[in-house]
Amino acid sequence: MGQTLLRKVWDLHTVRQLPTGQTQLFIGLHLIHEVTTPQAFDALRANGWRVAFPERTFGTVDHIIPTGDRKRPFLDVMAEDMLSALERNCRDFGLRLAALGDDRQGIVHVIGPELGLTQPGMTIACGDSHTSTHGAFGSVAFGIGTSQVRDVLASQCLAIEPLKVRRIRVTGALPRGVYAKDVILTIIQRLGVRGGTGYAYEYAGDVVDRMSMDERMTMCNMSIEGGARVGYVNPDATTVEYVRGRPFAPPAESFDAMSRWWLSMASDADAVYDDEVEIRGNELTPVVTWGVHPGQSIGVDGAVPSPAQSGEDAAATTDALAYMGLTAGQPIAGMKVDVAFIGSCTNSRLSDLREAARIVKGRHVAPHVKALVVPGSASVGRAAEREGIAEIFQAAGFEWRNAGCSMCLGMNPDKLEGNQVCAASSNRNFKGRQGSPTGRTLLMSPAMVAAAAVAGEVTDVRRLM
């Protein structure tokens, strides 16, 4: 009987069964950032532990850094403290760090792949729930908490329980104006925000096979929003060609052998899954969230549901409508937006910016909208500047920023104010997520954010193509 990629990677990295019955799983690559690590390093110091495999750890700064003026020390004393702590910890424990000003700096889930650190067949951990992004390469990548960061630093291992696998096949082809973001939002809407608990999601099917690595990363990134801690795509020729030649990729002389091994880690044709789901690509439309979790979404041509239409989630719908200031039955198109944010580990890669720039080119941001583009890494930013994309955005009235998490999560100066409505290419529309306790977030693809910025309201991007 064939095996899934999850099973193959799991078995290869299993150190032993712990007395509790959990698996002691070796972590091939540990990515770290400033927010979820300081307490873990303190625990190492308190116990006299060293970092077990410093060469398997790589750090960067992304969550708390300003994307505008980056003069040190930061005006925000707490942010300065956190950044200094990471710099000191990496120095003391001998770890590599793409610090502020380093030309490799950026959002941890953008730079891992970009530098070639992320490779198929690996186990990867990071103290951030969107670590599932790296599954796009056919790695098994977990978001972990700070105590687990401590464990990985000290032992390079996690005590963890095995996952079931649900294969989600996206068949057919995507219509024009429908992106990877729309596919994953549709999956989360259909399977629910808790549907993935206990599962790894394996994304497959013609649509996924044809996707670029950037698109696969967008899909895997939001697995956690569907409750699945891990999401992955089997490695193929697209994966191999993406990794080739990157700074941490295997050297040319061993690259072919490594790529053969990567491809051998893909799920076997006769692998057995715990569950299977099919999504028909041809039926999809651009998607917008209307509520306060990523499963509360509709097609851009749809109407906001009523509590009565929400079955057992009626109370949640009532609560979400009140928070969002929406009325059941109201079309989502035409909802006025105050802010347009293109960025985050979900959608801040070069291809995302290219698609958004195609919409923006020759147009202008609506007068009442504050619009910003935050490239996912310094490298994405430089490439976009070389290609003239940055210029297109600026000419259209967007602010062009430095790389970081920015307005996705309200831990840096980029925040919503009051009950502003934000069209966002990020991943979470939770209450208060974007830094204002009453701020409102509408998740959508970067192209849809660009369209909303120009129109000043939610609008169908297909009309601008």
């Binding site: 712990l18 951030d128 329980e161 409750g227 801690r229 997520r433 830094g435 306790p437």
Partner: protein, 202 residues
């Protein structure tokens, strides 16, 4: 020093609603610190400040005098979804919560809670309703979550609660504090690293 988590006793704190995310439990701005100290002051900060809890004029459960000093939280489905911030269970634990009983928990939140010795046990919807009714009748009722017996008791009502076997074992034996365990047979860790076909050399 090994701390076993076998049984939690104390007063209840019910918090209704499905899919309560970690941004609500502890808004991101309070993560801007190099320690977990003081997080308890900011549990559910934004929705407590907003007032009008769930469309009523009642105080938020964390401000409700009836629940002061509570140690068992009662929640609905998918509690703790969203971000991997351990700050969420840390904040609840530092506030005084020693166990959670709910219909279901988000996976990362559940794992982070076990890692700090904070059990999250599940009960059936009917049993949770029965527990809720007892709390409504007597907000200061005495509650017991017994991991060894797999039960939850409030007043004269006792029901079965579940916890995945491996997590239960970790809590009961004190093996939830995992670092020592993972370092225990380090030669096997080295052997695993040595057999991997890849490195992260660069």
């Amino acid at each position: 020093m090994i701390r076993r988590v076998v049984r939690v006793e104390g007063r209840p704190l019910p918090l209704a609603g499905n899919d309560i995310d970690t941004d609500r439990i502890i808004p991101a701005r309070f993560l801007k610190s190099v320690s977990f100290d003081g997080l308890e002051q900011h549990v559910f900060a934004d929705e407590r400040k907003a007032g009008g809890y769930r469309g009523t004029n009642r105080p938020h459960p964390f401000d409700d005098p009836r629940y002061h000093g509570a140690s068992v939280m009662i929640v609905d489905q998918n509690f703790g979804c969203g971000s991997s911030r351990e700050h969420a269970p840390q904040a609840l634990q530092r506030w005084g919560i020693q166990a959670l009983v709910g219909e279901s928990f988000a996976e990362i939140f559940f794992g982070n809670s076990v890692m700090i010795g904070l059990p999250c046990v599940t009960a059936s919807p009917a049993d949770l309703q029965a527990i809720g009714a007892r709390v409504a009748a007597d907000p200061k009722a005495h509650m017991i979550v017994d991991l060894e017996a797999g039960t939850c008791t409030i007043g004269d009502f006792t029901c079965k609660v579940d916890l995945p076997a491996k997590s239960r074992e970790a809590l009961l034996t004190g093996a939830w504090d995992t670092t020592g365990l993972l370092l225990d047979k380090f030669d096997e860790v080295r052997a695993t690293a040595a057999r991997l076909p890849y490195s992260v050399a660069g």
